[in-house]
């Protein structure tokens, strides 16, 4: 089977516009979360500056910016590449006044990039970013494309904020993943992109490789995770055979800081035999960036592993889940050359990706 490498990465976040810069900010404990009062209740979120982007759609502009930077980083000609957009709500803030079609946004971004292939939108709730990377991997293994550009982007809006408030899922303070006092999530805005490529020879595997990815459903509830962590555990079970336990440096979990999500992930990690592997959540840095999360958090995890560390879990102080998972409160040195990215979402979906760093980059 063809190996799949990662040869381009980019981020657009309120903490910076380069993977290295944002990694250093996260490492220092910075956070983009701020309080907002434009709805009836205060909420904390991480939002992008609207300035400096042209065009009719800020959503398309930030997604395009991320895609262009990843293409430049990879040094590929995008015309023959596959193109996948990961987003949940795209331009939803225009509902009633403009075009909210996710497919039209994807087509606009793909054309602006010069991609000729038909774009595909993956909109699989909060695991969209992981699911889009899985889809990109499959397109390469299938031989459909040599390169696939995977872009994740999400903006926040009254539509999304009031919905999460109605579900009583938002914290009115900075979120506290896995903490005993956690009381909900924060939302975030970001775009991030990866260029995936076919690796035909062993020498080409010297950089980052995507070894495996899987998506599994809890088959339990549309807006609450399984109490037994069924889908998350099954997704982990699907990817873990591709790595030796001693090579697994950390698991970058979803860690939204809702009571149910973090408890569910702890149970899934316990069932998968990963209680002794460091875990971390980046939601205290960027909030929950929805369609961007899987790609943004994977890129930050790559930067961390290149530096030989696992990033801190901002907002975490005292373990508040039933299984004794090894939450990395502070930056820690790690051993191993691989990490797992985990996400879960509404609709009962769960996704896992397994990345490995080669000898040099």
């Amino acid at each position: 089977m063809t190996g799949v490498g990662i040869i381009g990465r980019s981020v657009v976040t309120p903490l910076g516009d380069t993977p290295e810069g944002v990694f250093q900010a996260a490492r220092k404990g910075c956070s983009a979360l701020k309080p907002y009062t434009d709805t009836s209740e205060v909420y904390w979120a991480s939002r992008l500056e609207r300035k400096g982007f042209g065009g009719d759609s800020f959503f398309e502009a930030v997604a395009l910016e991320a895609a262009r930077k990843a293409v430049a980083d990879a040094g590929i000609d995008p015309s023959g590449a596959g193109f996948i957009l990961s987003t949940i709500k795209g331009d939803i803030e225009k509902l009633g006044s403009g075009d909210v079609s996710l497919a039209a946004s994807a087509a606009h971004i793909a054309r602006a990039l010069g991609v000729q292939a038909a774009p595909v939108v993956v909109s699989n709730a909060c695991i969209s970013g992981v699911a889009a990377v899985v889809q990109g991997m499959r397109m390469i293994r299938d031989g459909a494309f040599r390169h696939v550009i995977v872009v994740g982007a999400e903006l926040q809006s009254r539509f999304i904020v009031t919905g999460f408030q109605a579900l009583k899922a938002l914290s009115q303070e900075p979120c506290r993943p896995f903490d005993a006092a956690r009381d909900g999530l924060n939302l975030g805005e970001a775009a991030a992109a990866m260029v995936l490529t076919a690796l035909d020879t062993p020498e080409e595997s010297a950089g980052w490789e995507l070894l495996s990815g899987a998506i599994r459903n809890d088959a339990n509830h549309i807006s609450g995770p399984s109490r037994t962590g069924e889908g998350s555990y099954n997704a982990l079970r699907a990817v873990l055979p591709f790595v030796r336990k001693e090579d697994l440096a950390f698991v970058n979990v979803h860690g939204t800081a809702t009571r149910y999500n973090d408890e569910m992930e702890a149970i899934a990690l316990d069932r998968a035999g990963l209680l002794d592997v460091p875990i971390n959540s980046l939601k205290g840095v960027f909030g929950h960036t929805m369609g961007a999360a899987g790609i943004l958090e994977s890129i930050l995890s790559m930067e961390a592993l290149e530096a030989g560390i696992v990033l801190p879990t901002r907002g975490f102080h005292e373990l508040g889940v039933s299984a004794p998972v090894k939450v990395s409160a502070c930056e820690q040195a790690v051993r191993g050359n691989a990490f797992v990215k985990l996400l879960s979402g509404f609709g009962g979906v769960n996704g896992a990706l397994l990345f490995r760093k080669g000898g040099a980059r």
Binding site: I92, L95, P119, V121, N217, D218, F346, V349
Partner: protein, 164 residues
């Protein structure tokens, strides 16, 4: 390969009573989820061992407009009191989750949005989903409902052995 469809504007409640009738959660669903639910009833209703939990069946849903009809209902509720019951259906993948819950499918569920119904592209994406070694069959749904009374709704059941 078994293929089914629901004509645009059909009476979905009558169809539900004919095909299922024992699943009151149906009435809470948005139109997109109702269509996916009913197409799946048509595809697997007669299957032996139908409700045996299984991980080897994927649910892959495709649309052009996602869940935009329900998005408008949620937006209408925002003016008064934002409805959590409507908000949870503002995701294009909830239909795949509803199918997984009803049928106890613990396998992959994925949701894609495409510019147009493109059979070649849908077939390629479905075929690629079978790269997951656990997946041996897939419920495939094309359901697009820009409005609650007008839609396209097609479903088919693909088995690994059907693929060339």
């Amino acid at each position: 390969m078994k293929q089914v469809s629901i004509p645009s504007g059909a009476n979905l409640t009558a169809l539900y009573r004919e095909l299922a009738g024992d699943y009151p959660k149906f009435f809470k669903m948005d139109t997109l989820s109702k269509l996916g639910f009913l197409l799946t009833e048509m595809l697997v209703g007669e299957e032996a061992d139908r409700f045996r939990p299984r991980e080897d069946r994927a649910v892959l849903v495709f649309s052009r407009e996602g869940c935009v009809a329900n998005d408008r209902h949620y937006q209408d509720s925002m003016a008064d009191f934002p409805s959590p019951g409507l908000f949870v259906y503002t995701l294009p993948n909830i239909v795949s989750g509803e199918i997984a819950i009803r049928n106890k499918y613990a396998g992959e569920t994925s949701a894609y949005v495409l510019e147009e119904y493109d059979q070649k592209l849908v077939d390629a994406l479905v075929c690629q989903a079978f790269q997951d070694p656990v997946t041996t069959s897939a419920i495939v749904i094309w359901a697009d409902c820009p409005r609650d009374d007008a839609w396209e709704a097609l479903g088919w059941l693909v088995k690994k052995e059907d693929l060339g």
